[in-house]
Structures are given as structure tokens and as C-alpha cells.
Assembly symmetry: C2
Homo-oligomer: 346 residues x 2
Amino acid sequence: MTQQPRNGRAPSVKDVAAAAGVSLGTVSNVLNRPAVVSSTTRERVERAMADLGFVRNESARQLRAGTSRALAYVMLDGGNPFFHDVAEGIETAAEDADLSLFVCNSSGRSEREAKHLDRLLQQRVQGILITPVDPDAAHLADIAQRGVPFVMVDRFSRAGGHCSVAVDDVLGGRIAVEHLIDRGHRRVAFVGGPESIGQVRERLQGARAVWAEFGMPEEDLIHLPTEALTVNEGRSAGERLAGLPSRRRPTAAFCANDLLALGLLQHAVTAGLRVPDDLAIVGFDDIDFAAAAAVPLTSVRQPRQELGRTAARLVLDEATNPAHVHEQATFVPALVARASTGTVRR
Amino acid sequence: MTQQPRNGRAPSVKDVAAAAGVSLGTVSNVLNRPAVVSSTTRERVERAMADLGFVRNESARQLRAGTSRALAYVMLDGGNPFFHDVAEGIETAAEDADLSLFVCNSSGRSEREAKHLDRLLQQRVQGILITPVDPDAAHLADIAQRGVPFVMVDRFSRAGGHCSVAVDDVLGGRIAVEHLIDRGHRRVAFVGGPESIGQVRERLQGARAVWAEFGMPEEDLIHLPTEALTVNEGRSAGERLAGLPSRRRPTAAFCANDLLALGLLQHAVTAGLRVPDDLAIVGFDDIDFAAAAAVPLTSVRQPRQELGRTAARLVLDEATNPAHVHEQATFVPALVARASTGTVRR
DNA sequence: CATGACGCTTGAAACATTTCAATCCCACCC
DNA sequence: GGGTGGGATTGAAATGTTTCAAGCGTCATG
């Protein structure tokens, strides 16, 4: 690339046209419909582009086209690898469609989420994927009403009016607790909160349902509430658990996500408990760090990448297919049994 | 917001102007210089904007302005929380400057990196922050030559010609190994590779330097090479370590990053080794999961968020200050001692 | 009553691209 | 030699915003 000395602004199609001695319409044809241009002209234009170091101006394209060539994913918690894997699935699909992906992070803060959405609206992104702080927030309804393609990831809203993608959390709760019952546990803790989070509610609901079905006394499924789904909260739940009188103390814990489970595991090991013999632990999400823990964690796997890919597929369908109908894609979670629930309790 | 029925395209300043009975120049003034507009007109225009659900078209602004209101960070490995924290630091700074941030992930693949850079160039981002696959790659020099503000994060290139931000990795290596010597270890493994990665080379170099300074025999600092800086590779290094004849077997390991350390820790625990009594472990980066491990990991902390903030500051300076001079910001790493090196060995 | 000043508003130009109808030119046929 | 068809190229229009010089009207001052 024989680059011209830069004299301020970047070269435009007009400059390329002048350098190649053709009209700017022809340059545009080379870019967008190379077949209609004669090969000699095409080569001349291509050489000029290389010489000048021409790069298409995306904003001008966008302005003309009326929409950008980008999708966006607003994730709930950048510190949780789960969302990262979802984002990776989305990115794969975006790349296949030759679209860019904006990855934003609301960090669980509603006002940051709103700010991101506002920016994305200004960018005229083709579609928005979001794991929202609150699925029923007004600014979400606003987006949908504007007609911007919009998919909710890993959450549902009562309202509807858009696609969503998630796993069956009630089933996930059932699977986890059934596994523990199966392993011989008769007193189990559910660690997780706040209940304002749909996931927490549903996983607990599934846990209670299967507990009842097996005819276990209600009071032997103990709910240890947390203020967030973090490692720290998992640790503190561990302390509360250790503080229970021994005949009330559970022999196993089902945590609403893997971060909690890792925190709980850490507390248990520090306190000298053997996992799984003194305390068995099941997490949720099956993030890579669950398998990497000192005692590999049993976890309820969500198909993280596929969640992302499907969400991207749906938003693209909404963006391009006039006959699009909203869809609620539900995936089936699966138990991945590892050492943290490894032994059968007599 | 009393929204009009949508009839196709989004409302523009022109529509707002018509609705408010003013010229489009006035609408623009309300948006950009509200002080020069009389309050009655301003209110009328604001009402019209709200009624119509007007949203500024960012691509038109960009086209006019010649540059976008965005920065970009191309990270090396989205699966490593370290880069996530760096990104968070960048985002903070971007938000303060009222800029958007594109977060891209090259996943360690050079061609993906090149593709991302190409797209970002088309977007006319104000500046690019990158942790590159190869600091000396041609496409990086190309960016710098184009005059796009550009900062290298956590890497250096021989070439120079741009800002960079990193910690002193040689010093980091020294600190880690000195700590182990201090704890009484006389046979230590360095786990990490490939040596094509600058970080690995320098951390090893620091380790060797301090080892020699303490007068320890060279052959007692054993290099266990890995193919990547991942949990899996850490585990497999653990196997090789366990396979060493016992009088050659190290009592401590310094891992080139925390992912390796977590993998090694897992292997050790699974194999029934006590950490730190049978094997002490030091990691590098101090990601959150290091503190959250079953045996909390001693690690060499990098100021991750500050790395990001500083990088963003530099790129913004380059973008806005004509007197900008390139700067190589170096941070000092610090040891965070935790249980994984908790005891003194006699 | 004329002049100037001041506050507010206006309208045109510019940004880089894409599209499309119009034009050009050439070869070929009658 | 005139006409026709068609491939290649052209130039103008349109996209939505910002800026800025110019215009307008009102008010105060001389």
C-alpha cells in the first residue's frame, strides 16, 4: 500500500474516483456490484483505493441505508462468565451475518442499562439483545414499541410482545434437587436471592416441587436467602449454614448459580468440611470455573453459547423477515455431575 | 411520550421542526446550544420531540462531525476475567468522556483481530485500545500509520510509535519468587508458556534473576512449559509435576497467570496434595476467582481497572491534544499473599 | 424619526455514500 | 449508412445532522 501523505481527512470515494479518472458512481459500483464494471476499470479503481488507503465510511453508508450493520447485547453482569459465553454465541451468529456486535454491560444497574439503550437507539442498531435488570422496566417496553427488533435473553417478561430465549429454570431446580435426593440427602439448603430475580424464584419453585413430590417434609428444604448472586454472598451463606444447630444443618446445598456455589465451597473448605462428604454442593449455569474448582462442582448446565446463537437468530429474523412471529425459545437444562456431589449418603 | 403512529422511518429533526412550527436550524440549536433559544420556543420544540419520540441519528452526526463518538477495545481472551476488568476500567473512562465503547474479542486469533480492526476503521472510532495477539503484527503498524489514536494494553512492541500501558512483568516475576524463597522453598517450578508471549518471557526472566541473586542453583528452578495460559494447561502441568522423581519435585510453583494456577490447584487437590504444605502456589493477575478458590490463591496483582483507565486517558489525549507525546505507562505489581502460600517451610 | 444593537431564528451548505435513470459508445445487423 | 441493442459509465438526488453567515424584529438611544 503506497500511502499518500495524509493531509487531514481520510480519502473518500470522490478522491478515489479522481485518482482513477472515473466517476464516483463507478467507484461505488466497484465496491457494491463489481460484476457490472469492466475488468480494466475495476483494476484501475482498486489500485487507486490501495494507493490512497481508502476505507469506506461506515456512517455515510448507514445514513444512506437508514440502519447500521450492527447488533447489540446488553449484559447484566460482566463479572459473571456465564454472560460472556452467551455473548460469544451471539458474536458467532453476528459474524456469520457480517454484522458488528456492540457488547454493553449494565452491571445490574438500571440507569446504566437505560443509558446504553438510549445510545444504541441513536446508533440505529439492527437489533437489541438484552438480559435486563428488570424484565418489566418501562424503557424496555419503549424499545419494543419503537419497532426495534428486540430479544430478551435468559429472562421473561409478563408483557410479551417480543421474542425471548431462556432455559426452563423450574426444571433446572427440579433436576438439581432430584439429584441430591438421589444421592441420599434428606436435608437440603437452597442458597439464593433476592427473590425479585425470576431465575431465583423459579429454581426455588422447581426445587420445592420435586421435594414435595418425593414426600419430604417442607421444613427440611431450607431457604438461605442472599442479597446477590456473587461469590461473596455464597461465602456468607456458608457462615449462616455453619451456624445452624447440627440437627437442622443440611447435608447438601443447591445454589442458584455457580458463583454462589464457589463461594460456598470456599467457605466449606476453609471451615474444614469435606465436600461432598460433609456438605454436597450443586451449582447452576456450569461456567468453566465450576469444572475448574478444587472440588469440581456439580452444576445444572445451560447451553450458554446456543442461547446466544438462538437469540441472535431470532433478532435477525425479526429484523429481516416481515412475516416474523415472536417466539419464546426454551432450552432444557442438564445436570453435569462432578465430585462436589460425588458420594451416596447412607 | 405521546407517540405518533409509526409510518415507516423514524422522525428526523425536519419532522420535529415541522411539528413545532420552527426551522430545522432551531431544533438543532435546542439540541446543541439550548441557551441561545428562547424558552418558549425551546419548550415547544421539546414537546414536539417528545410527542414524536425523536431520537438523534448518530450516523448523520458522525458523518457531519467526521468522527464517531466511540472508543474501541480489542481484547485478547474474553474467557479470562483479567481482560474483563481492564475493559471495565476503560468503560469508566469512556463514560466520563461521554463516549461509547465497542468491546471486541479476538480470542487470540490474528485474523479475527484484523477483521475487528478493519471494521473499527470503517466506523471511524476516535481511538483504539488493544491487547494484540502479536504486538509486531503488520496490521497494527498500519493503524498507527493511518493516524488513528492507538494504545497497546498489557503488551509492548519493539517498534514504538504509540502509547502503551502495562505492568512491570520482570518485577512481577521477582516478587513472586522472592516470596516463595522467603517462605522457605528451595525447589520451585515456573509454570507457563509459550515463550512467544512477552509476559511469559519476562515473568520467567524476573523469576530467574531473583533466584540467581539469592544464590540458588539454577537447576532447582524448573520450567514446566505450557501451550497456553488456561486452566486445562495448568491441570496438565500438574500431572507432569507429579510425575517428577520426588527429590527433583518442587515444593512450590509460580504460574504465569491465575488460570494456570487454578488448574494446578485443582490437580493438586484431586491428587490429595495439601496446599500449601505439599505444594505452594503463586498465580499472576489476581483475578477475582483467585481469591475465591477453595484454597485462596496468592497472586501478583495487576491494577487491572487502572490499567484500563490509564489506557483510555492516553488514547483520548492522543485524540484531542495536538501536543500529545507517546507514553509508555508502567505500573508496579504487588503481591497479595493468601492461603496458597500460607506456611513457612522448614 | 433614524440608527444601532441585540436577541432570536433561518436556510443553505457540507459531510460520504448509494442508487437509479439517463447517457454514452461500440459493435453488429440490415 | 442508419438503426438497434446492450454493456459500461455517469451524475444527480437523497439520507439526517450541524454550523454559520445572514436576516428579521424589537427596543432603546440620540
